[in-house]
């Protein structure tokens, strides 16, 4: 068994290395070559073309504002929410859990679309309502703008920031604050001099992760930026390779290289910061109940604010999509609108062969991709957690690298590869790219599952006389099942909604749900879009609920309570 371990480690390094490094390498080679099908001779012309493009400056400035603005918004909101939830007497704390799970249920693409339906300047529902109510000549809001993109992206990334900041705040030793107060500092001074500085690594980590995600974000700029011709790097890159324009994969690769490097650098920084915040953990005491800060008069207004945010993030997007899928064309809710409601769009979608094909493809990718992905992740997680050699360290770095890859860039890199192979324009191409791009999502839950299987549990089974195989069957596998289930469902959810990689790699015949939804958006078919979108949300939500249910089931099975 021991002899086969290095072999296992190295074959996994080969597979994971191929999946993560292949697109990077192809991107790198492609950036120095003539064109997509033939690499030709070495040339720097693509770099020259990419970096002397007069649009690049404007695009870069837009990207900077978009990325920093949305990241500030999401980190700030997350900080306030985490503080209110962990430290104050705000009512209905369960609402916070809902806020942090929502992005799992509503795909970014549909979230952006619903905001477009509400606040677009020509017939946005909210705009029209406000115009009618106040007799305005012009729409008061225009979501097709940089600030609209910042708002929507910020809201979308808030839960991620929250999930990093909230645990840090919850595990914070309250005595650190109490001692500051004993030594004469008031609440505000304590907040500024003790609480926030101690939480700084977690806050910075959340901020950087938000930057990485908004830099890679494609759905928001595509839906909200393109109509107003506000381009950021992701959409600018896409236009270079989009069919219909004149695709230039070399130029895209050249520009993609710098986005990729920036993203990798940020993730390295993120990992350093999370390691740092681990060092800030001090001696834990007996856990005296933290003093709950009484909000007093601010309690109800703050609660209403949280309620409004939950409404904006959870109820409104789904409600708008549902409403739009039922009315014949864009109209403000009224008696007439309700009398005109029908399932016309739903029927059209169900009878539309392209939508059905996309649905079928997405489901296939979700099931096959998640199954293969979890299988690979299980082996990788085992090697990372249980075999601590230099090679397994290399595997760990490799497998988490793809976390920093923007989907569009990965897509372009894979395009350079697949076009040389018979896989081009097949579902298999998408399957491989999906697994490559989302491997960390499978490895993470499985790695923590393996951590729970302490070596002593295995060893005591061996001591009791069980063989390796029996130990595997009776001890290890049962302990791993919760991790396997949550990894599978997490990956499947990601794949059902996948947009950014697909938008580059999908070709006629290999359409997926998100791409089909995007093409409805391009054609202004909002009713059909909404119907298909609700189907997508239903699948996502179903999977997430299944995951929660399964998790609870396993917990009660194992804990016996």
């Amino acid at each position: 068994m021991n002899q086969s371990r290095p072999k296992l480690t190295w074959s996994l390094i080969a597979i994971v290395g191929f999946l993560t490094l292949c697109p990077v390498l192809m991107l790198f080679l492609g950036s120095f070559s003539q064109g997509l099908t033939a690499f030709g001779t070495f040339t720097l012309s693509k770099y020259a073309a990419a970096y002397t493009d007069p649009f690049l400056l404007e695009v870069s400035v837009n990207t900077l504002i978009f990325v920093l603005g949305s990241s500030l918004l999401s980190t700030g909101l997350a900080l306030v929410l985490a503080y209110l939830n962990t430290r104050t007497d705000i009512p209905f704390k369960s609402a916070f859990t809902v806020l942090s799970i929502v992005p799992m249920m509503i795909p970014h693409l549909l979230f952006s679309v619903s905001w477009a339906l509400l606040l677009n300047p020509s017939n946005g529902l909210l705009n029209t309502l406000l115009m009618n109510a106040f007799g305005l000549d012009e729409a008061p809001f225009n979501i097709y703008s940089l600030w609209g993109m910042v708002l929507v992206e910020g809201l979308l990334n808030m839960p991620i920031a929250y999930l990093i900041i909230a645990p840090a705040m919850a595990s914070f030793d309250v005595a650190l604050e109490e001692s500051s107060r004993v030594f004469g500092a008031g609440t505000w001074r304590t907040l500024l001099r003790v609480t926030l500085p101690v939480l700084r690594p977690a806050i910075l980590a959340a901020f950087i992760l938000a930057i990485v995600r908004s830099l890679a974000s494609y759905a928001v700029p595509r839906v909200l930026g393109m109509p107003g011709q506000v381009d950021v790097l992701a959409t600018y890159l896409y236009q270079m390779v989009a069919t219909g324009f004149t695709p230039d994969y070399g130029k895209a690769a050249a520009l993609g290289m710098s986005i990729l490097s920036a993203s990798i650098a940020l993730i390295v920084l993120y990992r350093a910061l999370t390691a740092e915040s681990g060092k800030y953990v001090t001696i834990s005491g007996r856990g005296y109940r933290p003093t709950v800060i009484e909000l007093k008069r601010a309690r109800i207004p703050l609660f209403i604010g949280i309620g409004a945010l939950s409404f904006l993030m959870v109820v409104l997007p789904v409600a708008v999509l549902l409403y739009t899928s039922l009315v014949p064309y864009s109209m403000v809710p009224s008696v007439r609108a309700f009398s005109l409601m029908s399932f016309r769009h739903w029927i059209e979608v169900i009878e539309d062969p392209l939508s059905l094909l996309a649905l079928k493809n997405s489901l296939f990718l979700a099931v096959a991709g998640a199954s293969l992905g979890v299988l690979l992740s299980a082996f990788v997680a085992y090697v990372i957690v249980k075999i601590r050699t230099r090679a397994s360290g290399l595997l760990e770095s490799l497998s988490f690298l793809s976390f920093s890859f923007p989907g569009i860039v990965i897509g372009i890199g894979f395009m350079w590869f697949f076009v040389q192979t018979p896989l081009y324009a097949t579902l298999t191409a998408l399957l491989l790219a999906y697994i490559a791009a989302y491997l960390p999502y499978g490895i993470r839950p499985l790695a923590s599952a393996f951590v729970q299987v302490h070596a002593h549990l295995e060893e005591s089974s061996l001591v009791c006389g069980a063989s390796n195989l029996t130990t595997m069957r009776r001890i290890i596998v049962p302990l791993l099942i919760p991790g396997v289930v949550s990894a599978w469902i997490l990956m499947a959810t990601m794949f059902v909604r996948e947009l950014t990689v697909s938008v580059v790699l999908s070709r006629p015949g290999s359409e997926v749900l998100a791409v089909q939804i995007l093409s409805f958006a391009d054609d202004g078919l909002w009713g059909k879009l909404s119907a298909l979108g609700i189907i997508m949300i239903a699948i996502s939500t179903g999977l997430v609920l299944l995951a929660m249910l399964a998790g609870r089931q396993f917990k009660s099975m194992q804990g016996g309570n």
Partner: protein, 361 residues
């Protein structure tokens, strides 16, 4: 500064039930003493400490420190923690991980807005006092547990508060270090002559450190006294039992004989330390294991001579611990390792009436 507490009450609601953490506590902590609140976990000692410092808000009563009322339900006074001017050492030390040792210790002075060179001088002086020189610029959380403990102490001392509160400050140290630190703490506080309120569940710590001990149970103070009074001369069975190992035997008072009180018990008739109890009243006889002297053939008063059988003998290093059966009672005794006894031996021993304590039934 003297701390006066009157009628202090605090409730918690836990799992639907109301728990009295403090049940109308009256207490005066005299100035310039080391005063210990001792009791098992959940007895309310930490809650009392946190009420004094202001981190916990009582439901009723009054607290005054040095004559100034800092909290009063009736008068509607609530001085916030940061305005009470106290020092405190936390159980977790609460060393700020983002600051150096210097910044941690300087914090109370910086908050008061003292001048930079004054701060520098005072911090250096305090660090010298706690024997922690030369680590000023180190990150405080990189220090060892014992050193962190000293940083916490230095921080509590630096602003020269009149009262310092200690919340189980030694409980995170390993046994050997705890003993050393306890001795140092005793000498530090002896030098300073300040009022210290010290919370612990460790009886040895309480006995070794305190000028005065208050033993608490279920939100009430059961007994207050010097360590010797609490150990040798407790009034309550609960206190006698908590403060050290004790043989507790049901007894009934028979009468008084000069300086002694006579009882009847499972050990036969015993002459005890005097207690003003009428004949016929129920009490508990408390004998510490170290005062049961087996084999030591000392010429006593001829009183309290008891014979029994050694049921079990356990070697624990410095002594044997023996279980001696006397009638239906079992007594725990400590026997010198060079005493020639073995299990099953019949032994006789005498009890000094001065060490036969009568406590509440």
């Amino acid at each position: 500064m003297e701390i006066r507490i009157q009628g202090l009450t605090k409730h918690y609601v836990s799992e639907g039930k109301t728990v009295k953490a403090l049940d109308s506590v009256d207490l005066t902590i005299p100035a310039n003493t080391i005063f210990t609140l001792l009791g098992p976990s959940g007895c309310g000692k930490t809650t009392l400490l946190r009420c004094i410092v202001g981190l916990e808000t009582p439901d009723d009563g009054e607290i005054s420190i040095g004559g100034e009322v800092v909290w009063s339900k009736a008068r509607g006074i609530a001085v916030p923690t940061e305005k009470r001017g106290l020092g405190m050492v936390f159980q977790t030390y609460a060393i700020w991980p983002h600051m150096s040792v210097f910044d941690n210790v300087a914090y109370p002075l910086q908050i008061r807005g003292e001048r930079k060179d004054d701060i520098k001088r005072k911090v250096a002086q305090t660090l010298r006092f706690v024997q922690l020189e030369g680590v000023e610029n180190r990150s405080a959380t990189k220090l060892s547990g014992g050193q962190q403990q000293r940083v916490a102490l230095a921080r509590a001392l630096v602003a020269e508060p009149k009262v310092i509160l200690f919340d189980e400050p030694l409980s995170n140290l390993d046994a050997k270090l705890r003993e050393e630190t306890r001795k140092e703490l005793r000498s530090f506080m002896g030098t300073l002559g300040i009022t210290a309120v010290y919370v612990t569940h460790d009886r040895v710590e309480a006995l070794a450190l305190s000028d005065s001990i208050a033993v608490m149970q279920a939100g009430r103070i059961v007994e207050i006294g010097s360590p010797q009074k609490i150990y040798f001369d407790a009034d309550h069975r609960y206190v006698a039992d908590f403060i050290g190992r004790a043989n507790l035997i049901a007894a009934r008072v028979v009468g008084q004989d000069g300086e002694l009180t006579l009882i009847e018990s499972g050990l036969g008739p015993i002459a005890c330390q005097q207690r003003p109890l009428p004949p016929g009243s129920e009490a508990t006889l408390c004998i510490r294991p170290e005062f049961i002297r087996v084999g030591a053939d000392r010429a006593g008063t001829g009183r309290n001579v008891i014979s029994g059988d050694i049921e079990s003998l356990e070697f624990i290093g410095e002594v044997y611990e023996a279980r001696i059966r006397v009638g239906n009672e079992r007594l725990l005794a400590r026997i010198d390792p060079d005493t020639p006894v073995k299990e099953g031996d019949a032994v006789s021993f005498s009890l000094n009436p001065a060490h036969c304590l009568l406590v509440s039934a």
